[in-house]
Symmetry: C2
Subunit: 209 residues, 2 copies
């Protein structure tokens, strides 16, 4: 049949610009090759209203964003808006593994102190030592007389807890209270689906009503 | 406890640049508000290696991409690489609803003709008439003596089939064979999501109308 049949040679299907775009979109967490293609199609079909604004937003963010030299937060100013906010209490430092955790805590609006973003956890397996994290900076901050408490808000994973233990040792020399987040049943969680470790922790630190 | 408790005022959590970025990312198909935040965090944490390249790729694509004046394909040249490829057979025009369908058909490598992207389907409900689609351009192309066949590769949806019937009427005046994709396309299915094998089978057993 005319016009139909396997190509003699593989035709160049789409332009290099589009291929690059799809490849970069596919690297985003939550987007696979297929959904990256869908996203690229959406952008191509909305060049004025979506593609150009996103390009500008990314370029603006890439140019403007700075890592806070005090706490490791990422924002457009250094020190970051949290560190330079006179309404925040510099006596309490909340140590988190990464920026995502800082954002999660800020969303709760339950914390009015300042942060310290470690940039990861210690990991013998991945060869991450204290010098790869912002540990010395944390110890320096904790030594300051105005600091009263360091909250270790690290993940309840093996690496997170190993890091918490290590930080507890390192911070022993500083005159600060060291605390960690409570373990327990997540709000809205069902006991039936909880792991044994969480249930045991919740039982141990039960509170009188 | 010092430093912990509800804020007196709502703190500005993240910079306007980041908020804009998240808002634009959340508009992409496949990304909700939560995954857009994750994607933004990934980009923020990889400013040099991911954010800047994506900004450049988007800007380059937004600047370079053109809609082909012949077939409606989107690529960096006008006419598009398919229309201007001497290896493609201009005697067979494959009519598709949208760019995504053209990409899907190109991935099968089973079609060596040229395309015509309608830009949608007729829809009484959404008020889309023939003048909103590239129908007149299609009729003009089909009138040319070198064109032998028009394949209506529209979705097997009500709107797609309504459009196919309408196009069959409009193309009756032209001296062309009119065909449609074989059944094999699942009823209610959309080309964009079909596997290559089904698409190839559907192409091969297309029938005259």
């Amino acid at each position: 049949m005319r016009g139909v049949g396997p190509h003699a040679s593989v035709a160049r299907m789409i332009g290099a610009e589009i291929e690059t775009l799809i490849r970069l979109l596919a690297r985003l967490p939550g987007l696979g090759p297929r959904s990256a293609r869908r996203a690229a199609l959406y952008l191509i079909n909305h060049r004025e209203t979506a593609m150009a604004p996103l390009a500008e937003a990314l370029a603006a963010a890439a140019a403007a964003l700075k890592t806070c030299s005090v706490c490791g937060n990422v924002d457009v100013t250094d020190p970051c808006p949290i560190c330079s906010d006179p309404g925040r209490d510099p006596a309490t430092i909340c140590v988190v593994e990464q920026l995502a955790d800082l954002w999660a805590l800020e969303r709760t609006r339950a914390f009015n102190g300042v942060y310290h973003v470690l940039g990861g956890t210690l990991s013998a397996l991945d060869g991450v030592g204290p010098e790869d994290l912002r540990v010395p900076a944390l110890v320096n901050r904790a030594r300051r007389p105005e600091v009263r408490e360091v909250i270790l808000a690290l993940n309840a994973t093996v690496d997170g807890q190993t890091t918490a233990h290590y930080l507890t040792d390192r911070l022993a020399e500083c005159d600060v209270r060291i605390s960690r987040l409570a373990h327990g049943v997540p709000v809205g969680g069902e006991l039936e689906y909880l792991d044994d470790g969480t249930l045991m922790a919740a039982l141990k630190s039960r509170r009188s009503l």
